[in-house]
Each structure stands twice: as C-alpha cells, then as structure tokens.
Symmetry: D2
Subunit: 486 residues, 4 copies
C-alpha cells in the first residue's frame, strides 16, 4: 500500500522551506521550535534545529511535523544555548533523506558553521562539479552544501567576508539564516525572491521567513531583510552589509501572495490576507457570473472567496467542509477503496448546495486532478451550475527558485485551452484572474512588461535569472539515498 | 513536561464517542476505518474495530487518530470479513486506558458479542454493583460492559430477545451498534438523546453516528434510527423492533447542533450547517451591536458568524487564523515558554483587525479560558472594540449523557453574571443566544417549558431522566488503570 | 517476510509462564520487574505487572522482553505501591494477543482481584461452557479468566474461602499468585506439577516460580509452597491452608530439571545444575562411546555435557559457539538467504572439531530439525564421527500442563525408531537417557511404575490427571484475536 | 534514570568496529547484514550499510543491534544491488551520533566513495586541521572523513592511485573496506594492527574483520589481507597492491586473542579458541593454586577456564550463570534498587559453590568494578576461598588504535600493586598471566623485547607508532553532537 502521491493528495505548488533563527535568548531552541511550528505550512516533511552552547554546536534532525518531533523534552534538552537556527522542509524527492535535512553543519577552519536555506541556487550543480574537481567532497545532495564549501574555500580573512564572498558566487533564490559560535547571519539574494523578515523579542533578534513566526511568540516585526542584504547579529547588536551589486530591480515571488504565505503574515510589506481578498475582488470584477452562492475550496481559496462574495454582493457559504484530521500520510486502506473516490479530505455540504448556482473559488490549478474531484463532489451534491474562478493566472511554467512544481507538460494550463480545461474538470465555466489583475491586487497599476515588478515566471515563463544548472546533462541531480533512524 | 490539560487547550464540551457499523460488504473493516475517520471529531483519543470472518471475531484497539493507527496495512489485514463495527472515543479519564477502548467484546453462551456505545448509561454503576453481588466480574470500567453482562444473563432464548431484555434495563443515553457472528444490531434509547443514522452502500447497510460517515464513502442516507428502536441487520435484510414503552416525548441533544455534529452532517433531520447559520441570524436579531466586521473563532464559530454577518449586513472576515498543524498533543517546549501566552493554535490577522470594532462569534463558553486568550490576542492586534456573541445560551449544568463537561462550579456561566463575565474575558460586550432563540434556530416556535422538545439540560439543568448513579457514595467511579503497548 | 516459526528457530518444549509476587515493600513493582527478568527464560513473549496503591489497582501489559518494556521510567511510575504481582508468558497461539497477557484483573463484588498463573487447567473449557450457560461473559481466551469467574461466583463469605472454593473446582497444573487490595495469595495444585517458591526480602514475602528470582535481588529462599497449599500473605504475616483433599502422591514435572528451570535455581529441593550434571554422568554410564571430545549444544546441553565429560574422562570443549546477539525475532533478510542454512545462532569451532570423534550432548529432541542443522554444521567443520547423546528419554507425548509442545505426530521420537532418527539427523550414533537413569539423577532409585514419583507424561504418556477438555469437540479452543498498541 | 555507564555494566576494553563487504552477489546487503550480525561483538551501538545499484549509492544507518534494525524488510528493500559494504560500531562518545555511523559516503569528482573503518588514525586531527586550513569542511567527527578528503584531494589520476595516495598519509591502525560504483577496496595498515580477512562465497569476494562473518553464510576463508596490502575487487577479479614501504615488522593486536575476537574465529592464522585454551594452560602452569573447582566468569573467561582446568586436573564447573536476556540497555528500575547490588547479568550457582575453594578465571581486569561484584557474589554463595586468575597480563596503558579504554589513571593495574588489588576485589589470591606466557600461548617462544612480535601496548606501554594527535592542545576532539530519527 503506497502513500498517495503528493500531487494527487493536494494539487498545489509547494514551497520547499521555512527558516528561523534567534540570537541571545535563553532556551533559543524552544523558540526556534515555536517559529518552525508557525512556518510548518512552508514544509511538513522534516525539520532540523542547531543550537550553540558552551563551545559546542548541537544538531537535531527529524522526519515529521515539528509538533510531533521537536516538542519532546528529550529532544529540546539536547539543544541548549541562547542562539539557534532551524529549518522546516518539504521533500522534493521521494525519500525523506535525513542527509538533506537542514540546517547543514560543518566544521571549517575557523570553527563550526550551520546554514538553513529557503530557495534554490540555480548554479549549485555547476559550482559543485567545479569544487569536486578541486577535491571537495559532498555528503548531501542539497545545494546548501555548496554554500558551506564556498565559505570554507574563500581566501578572505574573517567569517563575514568569507560568507559574503561565497554568496556572491550564487545565482537564483536564497534566503539564508546561518549560525557560527558568535554570529547569526541572515542573507537574501539580490532579487529578493524569497521572503525573510527581521524581528525582535524583548531585545533578542529573530530572522524568519514570515511574520507569523514572530506573532506566535509575541515578537515584534522590525522590517524585511532587504534584497541583497546581509545582516549580522552578535552580542553587540546588528550590522547590515550589501555585498552584491546594487539593483533596484527586485523580483519578489508573487506566488507567495497567491498561496505560499500564511494569510496572517505580512510579506513584502503587504498583508497576505488583504491581497488575497483584493484578488477575489479583482476576480469578481473581471470574471463575474450570475450565481446564488460563492463557495471557497478550503482553506486556500477562502480569503479570495470572501473578497469575491463581498465584491459581487453574493452570499459567502461553506459549501465544502474540510476534515482537518486527515494528515498528509493518510492512506486509504485498500486499493479498491482508494479508487472509489473516497472523500477523505473534503465533503460537500449537500443541503446547502442542492439546486444552487455555485461559484467555486480556488487559488490555483496545477494538474487539475483535485479540481476534478471537487467539482464532481459538488455536482453529486445537487448543484445546478458550477462556475470555477481561479485566484491567479494560469500556471504555465515550472519554478526553479525553491518551489516544488511538476514539469511543464503536466501543468494543466500548459497543455489545454480554457475550453478544454472546462471540459476536463466539468464546470459550466472556468476563468482565471488576469496577470494585470494580480498585479493590481498587490498594489501595482499593472505589470511592467519591460521590467516586471515581481517574479511571475510560473505564469509568464520569464525567469529573472539564468538557469545555469538546467543546461547540459547535469540537469537532473542524481540522488544517493541515505536514511536512518534512531 | 505535561500535556496541556484538554480544557485549557480547547475550552469545549466534548462528545465522547462516534459509532459505525457495516454489514455485508467485503473489506468491511476498511469501510469502518473510513467511517470512523469521518467521525473523528466525536472522539480523538482512541479507536477500536471488530470484524467477523470465518468463525472468528477479530479485534484491534489503538490509541491515537484513525488516520495514524488503522490505516496501516498490517492492522487492516488482521481485520478480515464482511461485517464490522467500530468506535472512536474521547477519553474522559486521565489515562488512555486500552481496557476501555470499545467495541467491547465477550464470548457469551450463544457466541461472541461486540458492542460500541455512544452516550452514557446513568444507572450503569447501580446495575454493576448488583451484578457483582451475583458473581459477575468486570474487567473494564466502561458502562458498556454492563450491557454485555445484561445480555449474557438474560433468560430469553435468542440473542435479539436477550439484547432487548438488556437494553430495557438501561437508563440514560445510548446509541449502540452491536455485532454477533450473524447480526448487526443498532439501538437508540427511547429518548433518542444521541444520534444514530441508517445508511446504504450499494445494498450493504450501515449504522453511523452522523451522515458525514456515509458521505465519505458515497453511501446513501436512509433514515434516522428512531428513538427506542432496535434495528437488526442480517443477510436477509433489516428488521425493526421497539422493545421500550412507547413515548412521543423524545429528547434529542440540542447541543449536537451547537457544537458536536459536523456542519456537513444532517442530524435529527436538520442540516447542521443550516441550523448554525440560523443561530447566527437569531443572534444578530437578538443581540445586534454597532461594529465594523464579524469575525468567527475558528472553526466552530464560523457558520454562526456567517449567519450573523449576513443578517446584520456586516462584512464577514477571517480575523483569527487557525494553525491546522497543531495536534492535540502539542506540548510547548518549556514551562516558562508555555506561560508566555504562546499562540500555538490561533493567530490574529493584525492588519485586518487594527482600529476595527469587532464582533467575535463563538459557539459556546465553558470555562472561559480560551475566550480570554482570544480576546486578549484580538486586542493586542489593535481592535478598537471587541463584542463577543455566543451562539448558544450560557452553559450552566454538566451533562450526564455521554459528554465530557467540567463540574458545575467550573462552568463560567454558573458562577458569574454577564457583567462579571464581560470583565473576566475583557470584552466591551458579551451576549448569549436566548434559549428560545436556539429553539427557533432548530425549527421550533419556542421552547415548550412543560415538555421541552430537546434535551437542553446543560443550559437549563432539567435532566430528562433520573440520575441513579449520581446518588450515594458510588457517584465517583473508581478506576483501575490498565495500559499496554504492543 | 515472516518471523521464523518458533520451533524451527529453537526446537524445544517451552514452559509457558513464570510468576512473581512481592508484598509489603516500597516500589514493589520494581522488584517484580527484577523477578520477572530472572524468570525471562520461562516466557519471552509478553509480560504484565499489577500493583496496588492508595485504593487503586494499576496494571501494565507489554509485548516484549522485560528488559525492553518494564524498565522504562514512565512504565514503572504508573505502578506505585508496596504490593505487586507479575507474569511473564510464552505465547502458545500465533498472535501476541494483549488480551491474554496476565495477570488478569477483574472487579468483583468484594473488590479487585488479579491472578497470575503458571500451568494449565485441564477442565477450564468445560467449566467455561458451564459458566457461559449461566450468563458469564469471557473477555479473554485464557484459562485464568475461569478462575476469576469461579471466585466471583463462589457463595463463600470472604475472599480466602471464595478462592479456595474456586481452586477446588480446577483440574490440571496451576501455580497461582493472586493479589487483592489486602492480600497476596499463592497456590499450587495438589499434585504440585509446576514449581512455586516462597522467599523473604528483609521481612517482605515473595512468591516466585524459581529461586533465581530470589537471588537476583538478594532475597532468601524460605521453602517451596507445598503441593495443594494456599499461602495468604497480609500485613500481619503469612498463613497456610490446605483446601484440597490430602495426597502424598505428588507429581512434580521432571522436565523442569531437564530443560525448563534455570541451572542456578533450586526446584523441588534439588539444585538444577547438580541434577543436570548427574544426568550427564548417568548418560555417560549408560551410553558411553569412544570419542575424543565432549561438546555441548549450547547453552541447554552444557551442564549435562560437563557431567558426561567428567564421568567419561574426556575433554569438555566448546565445539559450538552461540551468538548471543540473536534475538528470537531475528529474521533472515530474504527468502533465498533464509533457505541457505544460515548460521544465525550457532557456529562450529572449526579448528577444534577437525578430524575429531565428537560426542554432542543436548538436553532433548523435539522435532529434530535443530539437531539436523547442528550435526550438519559439525560435520562440515570436519568432525570424523558424531555421536549424539540426549540428556532425557525420548519425548513421545504432548504436555497438557502449561508447556507448549507440538502434537504427538510431530514429535520425532513418536514416529521414528532410534535407527531412523540416527539416519534423519545423520549421526554415527544416537542414544537417549533411560527413564530410570533420569529418576536416578533426581535422587530416586528408579521410577516407581505403580505410582510414579514425578509427572513424566511427555516421556511415558501417563498423565497424572484426567484431561476433560480434550474430549469432545471443544478440544480446540477457538480464539478471537485482539491486538492493540498504545 | 540513566543508562548504566558502559564500564560499570561491563568492565572490558571494547573494540570499536567491525567491517564487512561483498562484491558481485545479488542481494549483497542481505549478506552484509548477516556478516555484521556475526561481527556484532565488535560494536553493538549502531551500524550502517551502503549498497550500489543502478547508478546510485544507497545508504542506511541505524542505532541499535543489526538483528533489530537491518532485518526489517523495508530497510533491506532500500539497499538493492550486488555490491555492498557495512560497518558496526561501538560508540566511544556519549551520544549515539548518527553523523558518525559508518560507512561514510561522499560524492567526489570521480563519483561516489563509501568507506568503513576499523582502527584509529593517530594523525587524523593533525591532518584535519591542515585540510580545514585549505578550505575543507568536515561534517562528522570521525577520523574516517579525513580519508575521504585525502582521496578527494589527491592529484593522482584514478581512484586506486588516489586511494593509495591517501592511505600513505595515515598513521595508526586501519583496516578499511571501501566501495566505489565499480570497485570494492580492502586495506590494512602496514603494521597490520587490526584484522581483515578475505573470503569467497561461490565466486563472490568478501572482506571481513573476522572469519566468523564468513562462516555464518557458508563462505570460504581465503587468506588474511596482508599488513600494508590494498586489495581491489572488480567484476574482473581481485588485484593486490602494496603502496606502503615494506616492513617485516608487523604488529597485530595481541588483545584480539585475549578478548576482542570471537572464539570461533581464526585471526592472524590462529584459532582464537585454541589460543585462549593455551592461555588457560599457561596460567595454570604459572599460577597454580590448590582448589576444588575452576569457574569461568562467563562468557569471556570460559575458554581459558577450560584450558586451566584441563591443565590443572581440576573440575571445570559453571559456578556463575549468565542471564542472556539482559541487553546492554537494561536499566535497573529505581535508584535505590540500582544501588542494592542487583544481579541483572550474573547469578552464583549457590549449591555448587558452597564450601568450595574456587579458582575464578576472567580474561582481563580493567577498572575492577565487575570483578569486585562477581567475587562478592561468589563469597555470599558460600565459597570458602576465591582465587582469581586473569588470562592476560595487567592492563596498564590505554589503547590508541581503535579500542575504547579508560584513561591510564582509571586502570586498576596502573594504580595498585597486586596486593592492593587482592584487597580491593577481596580475593584470597590474584594472579595475572606473564607477558611471555601470553606470547607462548600465541605460538612464540617469548616476547622479543627488541622488536615485539605483536602490539601489546596496553600491557607494556610500548606503542608501535608515534601518536601525533596526542600532543598539543588538540588531543581532545571536540564533538558537535548531531542526532536524528526517522
């Protein structure tokens, strides 16, 4: 009996990582645990925490949810110290390989260095091949290990300069949190593709992917780490450096607003919930249709559905109920039952839907398999008409910046017209938000087609960096699997 | 480090059980697994499944969620057969005592009998003492074992008559599903306090606590099992008996509508979601207040909040975001952090709430501890005013019919006036739905104070049965703890 | 991949149980853990401990070795009190059914009663059928539950009389340790088939299957509990009762000396090690053969081999080395490897055996499968001649007194002549000890064929009791499987 | 409650590792599992296996015994391929750090390389510091990682030359088994301190620490890998190289004969059992004493006790019985019981010992704590005299070649005279084997004090290599702890 393939179970793009760090606070690892719990939506497969105390780095890596693994007293007891960083991860490859759980740690000439990374380095393999030719050994398949090597090999004199030297060699998306015995370092790539925020808990600095990781512990949001900025936190406070060539032309990932970030987070200085509601409003303006009720596909479609309903003057109703007890590892018991179309995760609110013209609002369509099931369920419950409204433009291209996406040929919108998609998912009508509508929702007048204000490559295919590792025969990373237990 | 006391973690009444059975379908235990998964909200602590196959009863009992325990291939493989019943349970006592996990099973003179029970037998201890004096031995502390003894000791000739004989001895609330080698039996107490529905999956009969357990597998809802009815399902079909004295005066638990049942279920012939929305509408009519937005305490307050917002013409907004990754076993890592007011489960949607007059809608208040935290969080997020509206009357009295409630002295409403409660939870105003408003929401003109149409003892203190075990010194059941692992 | 069938893995009769109890000593359950650890050889499948403290019985049951399960702090912490009994068990049926792990416990009219049992009640099914017809329910398949019912149903006034009343109804072998809130009771059947000893730890009384359970904690051996004796231990000391008809004609199991008991134990007032050495001496006298070395099949054949070597004046040598890391659950990794004749447990000491005439000494032969493998291994290592000497007579008949034996048709000696067995296990000669030789080793002049001094039914087929349950169609006990985990 | 410190539980030197590899055999990892099981005595803490199949290395690392971890179907299924190496390890540092479980694996310029190591590289830290200064990063604290770096950094053209280049840089003891996609490599340091044997299973080559790992699967012993030899096994067969300067002056560890190797193994071309018996004979000749019986401290003292008894003409008797169910993780339940002198592992055979003059034979004394307990137990059992005879010279100095030994100041013999030791362990007499006696037992006329034939540094303090890492402040390796589970 197999685990349901992730994309059948949940037809979404998946952000691969969340990062967190705190410096100068007793029981730092406990706070890291809380922070990673708040960032759990950015990666549910595995997590790791490093702390430093009394001359020694302590490292724990566990497969599973934070709330199941890092909350054990024995685990936390092995992570003493007042400085700690952590990482939660979505496994892009089949196995849950412990070797790749971050933060990665190594002993360098100058002492230990731990690094946690959200994003993807698009020239990591190219650099790795070059380093291997010089005699470097790689014990993980993570692009993060490349960073450790670059720091170790830098000819600069001190760790900060080595670190800056190293990150200048990188291309792609990287929001990094690193820890040495004396410093916590945060860094965002010059385009600022992935988020990274700076917070403050009664005088202790925090770095985190999203503000919700500050809220959980009552920490104050200070500001975003800037694109291209390196912040260095020590016992003496915080310093800021800009080791990259300056560019005004940043490229925050617009899909963070569509789906990745939590609705209660503020990223790129915008409330995610507010943006999603505006997306729903734009969608109602652009793609209105006569209907009786507006129903979200829970939970990711809910804010846009509220915005849609308010803008359209239609009732917002919970026509689909989500069973929150279903974990991602639920296995339907036997094959013949699995293929019955069992409703493990969602159930239609039959009494409500019967005889109604329904507008279904979802955040995006990837392969379309979940949409098919949802629509079929809504129709069986007696809906008279089903109109699907998608709170983003069609996703046409894979992401190479730290998001797990299927290859282009499996993206529904890249292989079907709107009409074909309507037939495939069996709706009366299907509409997507326009790219300009999406830009309006995030506060722009429209997309600047010359110099887009965001990374929107998944919608437009326009990648803001070159994709060095994608050329040649190295473009599929060979993985040597390593698993372990305690 | 201790597990958070349940009532701190989640300040609600808790239904103690869900029951499910299916007869005449290959892989019956797999369907029972699905059914119990859909009923997981009725009891998350432990579950058991019995199947019968080839002359033998097979029994599995596990502590934990269905999706974590019964979905293992090895577990399901030990439960062959085309007839199966199951039970999911909320532990009312401290330990997760395997001995009390239902269905209970015993070998009787006429063969094996398994029983799963939702409710509480209010004369169980009294009967148990009497049976012990006659030489009966009890190996669990469950009132369900009393039923097994009564069946075994009945002088009637066949299992059906023995069963009828036994249930006539019982007082209180009981929705039972039982299995012998040849029969599946369903039974509801004459007052029909707890729900039990009859379903049909392509010709195989199903018994379940709620209709959502039918929906998950695409089964058809046939009808409620009637109060006082015994249904007997065999290979020849279904028969119906009424072994109790007839009464028109039934007493369905009105709190099932307020909180216990899933919103997508139909119980007592009413859509739970529709009733909850009407509750919100009644609340808006009775307890309106000037405000900017209506915010539910998720997830249980959501349908009432939608009804309230629609009725009041105010925007419905997600002002509180729930972290669905938090399990009930999440332990905050260290004591001093636990007492920091960590927001493991809920976070305020700060940008939305800032400067607003907020109507918070929750389904009920038990101890008030969660409400205090929620309100404090909403205030810290900048809300200008907080008005709390509760979608039920004040809960004043404990339940003795299969619901876990604190003793009377710990119920906030039984020890404080409205004004005191407003001060305690620090809101600008607090209002509850009236008892008549609640009756209107479930379709009655008003409560018939002579002969109430529902059991509403938790609001009114009027219990529809005598409470025999509550008298005398036997009213606290002594528990001998038994735990095990594999 | 299957677990190796037990009898392939280890071709022995298996005692089914060890029992232990201690009264009046703080942390009684910790001592019970130690006692059961010393008795682990009497049952490795599962164990249970009951303690009584502060008005409440506490029960833990676990599958696995004592040293792996009951030594966890959390487990011991759930077993407070100064009185405790325990049981370790060899599962006779396929599953490791938690339901059957002893001690069994029930609430009776007069309070709780826990019972741990070593032996087998040969009329248990017959009594169970009769009790079921009177309305008793059975929740285990253990014969021990019958005892609980008989106590509960006794018309006597107090627990001691009820207990005596109950055990008088039993036939077969039973060494019992029972616990009520105020008393620890020990009882041996009138024939004294299974051992039970009384010990003293600084004034606290102990009951245990063997003296090695006293030694482990430095307790003093007081005396055997007598056949037919009931001892009752309270805070006031110990009392002794003889509720059965007196008989001088007791029947201690002679196989306890051959294999079951630990060599460092004293049972039936004889040192087990000394008896086994005398067995080896008798064997050398009766069945001498010209050879170079005497080699035990470790570990059970070792004392007899030492006795043989000393008596024969031949060198005792470790020609077979046992790998003590192999647990009983070792699974050879893949089928084709399992069938290669992998030597997981034993290895030949090649250099020693090469070119030698070897006398192999083993305690008994059951199916002969292990002997075949051992001999083949010794031959491959270069032994010139292999003479097998068995330290007991041929085992011809199954045991019905608490020992797991294959049915008669699978016992090698019951279906082959000595010559056929020699060919089957491929030895140059095979000899067994005579029945009189065995009696001499335990201190008798010879077997009294009129009234045998021991139970030797496995060698002679003469059972000292009737075997009521073996008649009729009830002779195979139907098992309803119940398993659980925590 | 703490785990018993290893040296209290078992007062022995501990070999740190066993290695195994097989090339060219379907299901290679299954055979590696068997081989490691046979080598379990060389390291019980954790184990790892690497296999190569279909372009990919597969790696599993687990804490615990082989029979508990690597025999799971799911684990073996993740290790496909016809070439595999493995390692079993005794943790020298407190934690069971997964990071240090071997084989270590890294991707190098030329492909993947896995290395398993038995021994200790005495200049590893010195080399590591040098490599770190050149920019190398270290992710484990194992000296084995140094080897991977040296191979990666070698300027030689092919893997074999790189490997030879690397091992020439190493000092100390190293028996290595390495795997690339196309080759299995075995290597012994020029002094041949640790054993490594070559075997053959129907045409597939095997490398293993001891011959018992060949016997378990019926493989043929071919020969020892020579000191200073590198063997390279490919699909074309085996090649042999000698990259080190030639020396006749090898230094096999003489303690392998005393305790480390299994008695059924042949190491350094001698039967371990035969050597141990000769040790016992020498001991009887050198240190005879009037007594009634010779009793081994089981199991390690048994062969020497047999030799002693045969030489002295005294009866060999099992005066101490070992409980083989006790694992190394047995925790005595509560503190006050732990300090009672509980006999978890050994019990005296009271009846046998009473009134006797006893010669106790043990293999060695490290701290003396176990000897104290054993002697006390034997005296309490009634022995009249206790004479302890040790089957090796006094251990005076720590080992730096892959053996876990306490520091010099904790070795009993380094801080007490014989008379003081006699008083400390409370024996009537204590004698050790002379160093020449030990050399005679392994076939030499006497120790050549100019050029000792073996490494006997633990007895003599004469180390056969310089100990580079022991100088300066780097001599304590700082450990960053990393633990994980699945």
């Amino acid at each position: 009996m197999e685990k349901l393939p992730e994309h059948e179970a949940d037809d979404h793009f998946h952000d691969e990582c969340g990062v967190f760090g705190i410096f100068g606070r007793t029981d730092a690892a406990s706070f890291t645990t809380l922070g990673l719990h708040a960032l759990q939506h950015r990666g549910q497969e595995a997590a790791g925490i490093v702390s430093f105390d009394n001359g020694q780095f302590n490292i724990e890596r566990h497969v599973g949810l934070i709330g199941d693994t890092f909350t054990k007293e024995s685990v936390i007891a092995r992570l003493p110290g007042d400085r700690s960083i952590g990482h939660t991860r979505y496994a892009t490859t089949g196995g849950s390989s412990l070797r790749n759980i971050q933060p990665l740690f190594a002993e360098l000439d100058g002492g230990g260095l731990a690094v946690a990374h959200n994003g993807n380095i698009t020239n990591a393999l190219t650099v790795q091949r070059e380093l291997q030719r010089q005699g470097a050994i790689f014990s993980s398949t993570s692009d993060t290990e490349t960073i450790l090597h670059l720091v170790a090999l830098s000819k600069e004199a001190n760790i900060l300069d080595k670190f800056s030297d190293a990150v200048r060699r990188l291309e792609g998306a990287f929001s990094l949190v690193a820890l040495t015995s004396k410093k916590m370092i945060g860094c965002r790539d010059p385009l600022g593709i992935r988020p990274l925020v700076l917070g403050d808990l009664d005088g202790s600095f925090i770095l985190a992917s999203e503000t919700c990781a500050l809220d959980i512990m009552g920490a104050r949001f200070v500001r975003d780490v800037e694109p291209g900025e390196v912040v260095v936190i020590t016992e003496n406070g915080i310093d800021s450096y800009f080791p990259f060539e300056k560019t005004e032309d940043t490229k925050f990932c617009i899909f963070e607003f569509v789906y990745f970030a939590r609705p209660d987070s503020t990223v790129h200085n915008e409330s995610v919930y507010a943006v999603r509601k505006r997306i729903g409003e734009e969608l109602a303006q652009e793609q209105g249709v006569a209907a009786d009720i507006v129903v979200p596909v829970p939970d990711s479609g809910t804010p846009a559905a509220i915005g849609y309903a308010q803008s359209a003057g239609l009732p917002f109703e919970l026509g689909i109920i989500r069973n929150h007890y279903v974990g991602r590892t639920f296995i339907s018991p036997t094959d013949h039952i699995r293929h019955m179309g069992v409703k493990l995760k969602h159930n239609a609110n039959r009494t409500l839907l019967e005889g109604k013209r329904v507008i279904l609002v979802d955040d995006s369509i990837v392969r379309g398999t979940t949409s098919q099931k949802i629509v079929s369920m809504v129709r069986e419950a007696g809906a008279k008409e089903v109109h699907m409204r998608i709170a983003s433009p069609p996703t046409m291209s894979p992401c190479f910046y730290g998001v797990d996406t299927p290859e282009k040929s499996k993206l529904l919108a890249s292989r079907m017209s709107i009409e074909e998609m309507e037939a495939f998912i069996r709706v009366d009508s299907l509409s997507f938000l326009s790219i300009d509508g999406l830009y309006r929702a995030v506060g722009e007048a429209k997309r600047n087609n010359e110099v887009p204000q965001f990374c929107d490559a998944c919608f437009t295919g326009e990648y803001p960096t070159r994709l060095l590792d994608q050329g040649g025969s190295d473009n599929v990373r060979k993985l040597s699997l390593l698993t372990s237990n305690s």
